[in-house]
């Protein structure tokens, strides 16, 4: 029974009690607590990987908890399916709203629970009228008859919210709802949230932006590394206290100690810009250096890296490698220049699951193993063996299909593939995301070895301990621009979070 902002005692409409969720090798949620009260906005705060999206999936019936209870009105319940969660009145409006482009607004609002006529057919007129009523109740001027594809992003959000209301939701989850909205649209969303509050809905608001959390939330709950850190009323806290809770105290993970032997300047990027994703990126990279790129999801880090290796075209900017200008128009050019990129999404962008390990490893290096245009199997196996052994990859044979390996081993195959091209710069995008702790340590050790051998590493990571433990220097990106370049004493978990979230450093120093 928490105290409401008005001082009254009130029971939460929905509560999570010591929820545990485990994935192979990872405990994503470790006994977390969460309370949502009617007519209030609760902000869920935490770094990337803190467990916020896992909680959303448990609340919407997509994941089942391995321990703990979900309580509705104090009664233990379970959401075995997404439908069960919807029936209980829990609905989520996602970052990328799931709607149907080719259907009308009214059909989108009522799909799955459309009003029926006496004969069991869909009552189109009734549906359109009800949709109009709901849209009007949230102040949205949208014709329920138009096709969804003709609406802008902000209007789509309103449709998603109308859909949530149409199933008589008691709990509305908003996951980064303002990420794609303009300032004016954000203001409209705030007004809408106020409307929902007035209707007595409990709202879970997930956001990285402190200004909007302070603008809109009544309560906060902070998670860190899958654990509940604290909760309370917004009026009793400030930015500094929240940041402190998010990043925690010391970094207790163990990272390989290494001597930084920084060599000469190897890579220099000047004025790299993209029409929509990032602007004016400048940095240098020395031989043997590990350069961290930190930022919130959507800060433009991966987009910049993909442009650097020629997947997307920059609008302007120059890359100098070993003091020579390199023109990179395609990933093949980047590989030739010695810049390789190990993408974040292994399943989609990394390994080719139907091919055996050795063919995955040699795919970009077939020139090395070919004679007269024909690849030599013995040399392919030798090359694959050399690099997979270095990474301590354990598999029955190099003929094993990559699809049958564990996530950590798939990651090793992808890294081995890129090392086999003998690169000068290796870009690792979230190198340890979603892999077990043992494999994580192996990847970290290996990164140190590579740097010690003179390879330059760019590590894109959202994990503060990893960035703090591994990087010589960190570039923080925010909204497509470099927000800060930190090293030495200036590099602390707090400075990272503040620059990434755009919280003024001076005013809060006091």
């Amino acid at each position: 029974m928490a105290e409401t902002p008005d001082g009254a005692q009130e029971r939460p409409v929905l509560a999570l009690d010591r929820i545990v969720k485990e994935f192979p090798g990872v405990r994503a949620l470790d006994g977390v607590e969460l309370e949502l009260h009617p007519g209030e906005v609760t902000a869920l705060i935490g770094e990337n990987g803190a467990g916020k999206s896992t909680v959303v999936k448990i609340l919407t019936g997509i994941y089942q908890p391995d321990g703990g209870q979900i309580l509705i009105d104090g009664q233990p319940t379970a959401f075995p399916t997404a439908q069960a969660a919807a029936d209980a009145g829990v609905t989520a409006i996602h970052q990328e709203t799931v709607l149907f482009d080719e259907l009308s607004v009214a059909e989108n609002i009522f799909i799955g629970h459309a009003p029926r006529t006496r004969f069991g057919m869909i009552d189109r007129a009734g549906m359109k009228r009800r949709a109009g009523e709901i849209l009007a109740s949230i102040g949205a001027e949208i014709d329920p008859g138009v096709r969804l594809r003709d609406l802008g992003i902000a209007s789509r959000h309103l449709v998603a919210i109308a859909r949530a209301l149409s199933i008589d939701a008691r709990v509305v989850i908003m996951d980064e709802p303002t990420a794609a909205l303009s300032q004016k649209e954000i203001e409209e969303l705030y007004e809408l949230v106020d409307t929902l509050k007035a209707q007595g809905k409990a709202i879970l608001f997930i956001s990285h932006k402190f200004d909007e959390i302070f603008r809109i939330a009544d309560r906060y709950t902070v998670f860190r590394d899958g654990q509940f850190v604290g909760a309370g009323l917004m009026r009793d806290t400030d930015e500094g206290a929240l940041v402190q809770m998010m990043v925690g105290r010391s970094v207790d993970q163990i990272f390989p100690k290494r001597e930084s032997l920084l060599g000469v300047e190897l890579l220099k990027v000047v004025g790299y810009s993209h029409p929509t994703e990032f602007e004016d990126i400048n940095f240098t990279l020395r031989r043997g250096e590990i350069l961290g790129f930190y930022g919130l999801v959507g800060a433009g880090r991966s987009e910049f890296m993909q442009s650097l290796i020629g997947i997307t075209k920059p609008s302007k900017g120059v890359v100098r490698l070993e003091d020579r200008i390199k023109i990179i128009r395609s990933p093949a050019d980047a590989i030739d220049a010695g810049i390789v990129y190990v993408p974040e999404d292994r399943g989609r962008q990394g390994a080719i699951l139907d091919l055996p390990i050795f063919q995955n490893v040699t795919l970009p290096s077939l020139g090395q193993t070919s004679k007269h245009g024909f690849t030599q199997l013995a040399e392919e196996f030798a090359l694959a063996r050399k690099y997979t052994q270095r990474l301590d990859l354990r598999a029955a044979s190099l003929d094993t299909h990559v699809g049958s390996l564990s996530g950590g081993n798939q990651q090793k195959v992808v890294i081995a593939k890129w090392l086999a091209t003998r690169p000068k710069v290796i870009i690792l995008d979230e190198p340890t995301k979603g892999i077990d702790i043992g494999s994580k340590a192996a990847v970290h050790d290996f990164m140190s070895e590579l740097a010690a051998e003179g390879l330059s590493v760019i590590m894109v990571s959202s994990e503060i301990p990893e960035i703090m433990g591994m990087a010589d220097r960190v570039i923080v990106m925010r909204e497509g621009r470099i927000a800060a370049e930190l090293e030495g004493d200036a590099l602390t978990p707090e400075t990272l979070v503040r620059h990434a979230a755009g919280i003024g450093l001076k005013e809060d120093a006091a």
């Binding site: 795919l363 024909f374 049958s404």
Partner: protein
């Protein structure tokens, strides 16, 4: 675990060999002459054009595309070769062969350009070009036939010449299958077909141009269709608008039966050849034992569904293996 998976994939071809052998044994109990060497040679020879087209189709399907225009390509190339032979009866065979491969390649390239540069779905592109190519035959020939007496003897005789007991047509199919084995297993191009079909996103990061690779697949398919075009009209000594009508479906069927995954990235030359041979054996065997041609269609259809069912089941096994290894890792 990997050994069982590999052997499973290998056994997919082994099962096909066993099924073909079983069909032949069953037929031979009622009609022993069917398995006489001379008859087997003729069955193989009959199946050779299907093998040639299936080799090309396999490459296209591996890259997550489909080429429905192969039969029309074959017919148009064949008609051009035939009309050229009528106009210049003394033209050497080499010229006909090179022209056929080139013309087929150009038609394949047209398909490929539309898929690569305009991003039109392959099934739509080749459905369109299928009709266009057939239409061009009509425009060229005015709907009339080129008959055997109009063609010169060396033109029609070439595919039928026997070398070491096999007709040239069969030898060409064997040599092309050998070339394709080499290309698919031993070259960077062959590997890129598998990469593009298996995971196009990963292929891009590896420096492979997905669209260009698909374009090359269409060119290869077109070249093989063109080659088969000359061989077909020369062997049957007749060319007309509707030649090989509907044959593209046999070609796709041969690939599917041979274990080429319609989702791309999985399949071998051996599978494509065996799939074609299976259809060839059925087609030749059923009339021998007095089974109606409608049963032939039904059996081909059943074989396709069985093959696809088998392939999906094989994939499902793979999924379970992943879960199992995840459990072990825990």
């Amino acid at each position: 675990m990997s050994a069982s998976l590999t052997s499973l994939l290998k056994s997919r071809e082994a099962i096909l060999v066993a099924v073909i052998a079983l069909v032949m044994v069953l037929i031979s109990t009622r009609f022993p002459g069917f398995v006489a060497l001379s008859n087997l040679v003729s069955v193989f020879n009959d199946t050779s054009p299907l093998i040639l087209l299936a080799l090309g189709q396999m490459v296209v399907i591996l890259t997550r595309c489909i080429d429905l225009s192969v039969a029309a390509n074959l017919a148009l190339t064949g008609m051009v070769c035939a009309m050229l032979n009528v106009a210049y009866p003394d033209l050497p065979i080499v010229v006909s062969l090179v022209l056929a491969v080139f013309l087929g390649g150009v038609m394949g390239a047209f398909n490929g350009i539309l898929v690569w540069k305009l991003g039109i779905p392959p099934i739509v592109v080749t459905l369109g070009t299928m009709t266009i190519y057939r239409g061009i035959i009509f425009l060229l020939s005015d709907g009339s036939w080129v008959n055997s007496h109009e063609m010169s003897a060396h033109f029609t005789g070439f595919p039928r010449q026997v070398i070491l007991g096999l007709p040239v047509l069969s030898w060409i199919a064997i040599v092309m299958a050998g070339v394709m084995v080499l290309v698919m297993t031993r070259t960077a191009l062959g590997r890129s077909f598998y990469a593009v079909g298996g995971n196009p996103h990963a292929a891009v990061y590896t420096g492979i141009d997905v669209g260009k690779t698909q374009f090359i697949a269409f060119v290869i398919s077109g070249m093989l269709a063109g080659l088969a075009g000359y061989l077909w009209i020369a062997r049957y000594a007749v060319a007309y608008v509707d030649i090989a009508g509907g044959f593209e479906l046999d070609v796709v069927a041969a690939c599917v039966i041979g274990g080429i995954s319609i989702a791309g990235g999985l399949g071998t030359v051996g599978g494509a050849v065996l799939g074609a041979l299976f259809l060839g054996v059925i087609k030749n065997a059923l009339p021998v034992i007095d089974v109606s041609p409608f049963w032939q269609l039904a059996i081909s259809g059943a074989a396709i569904i069985l093959a696809v069912t088998f392939n999906t089941r094989a994939d499902r096994t793979k999924g379970r293996v992943i879960l199992k290894s995840a459990e072990q890792a825990q």
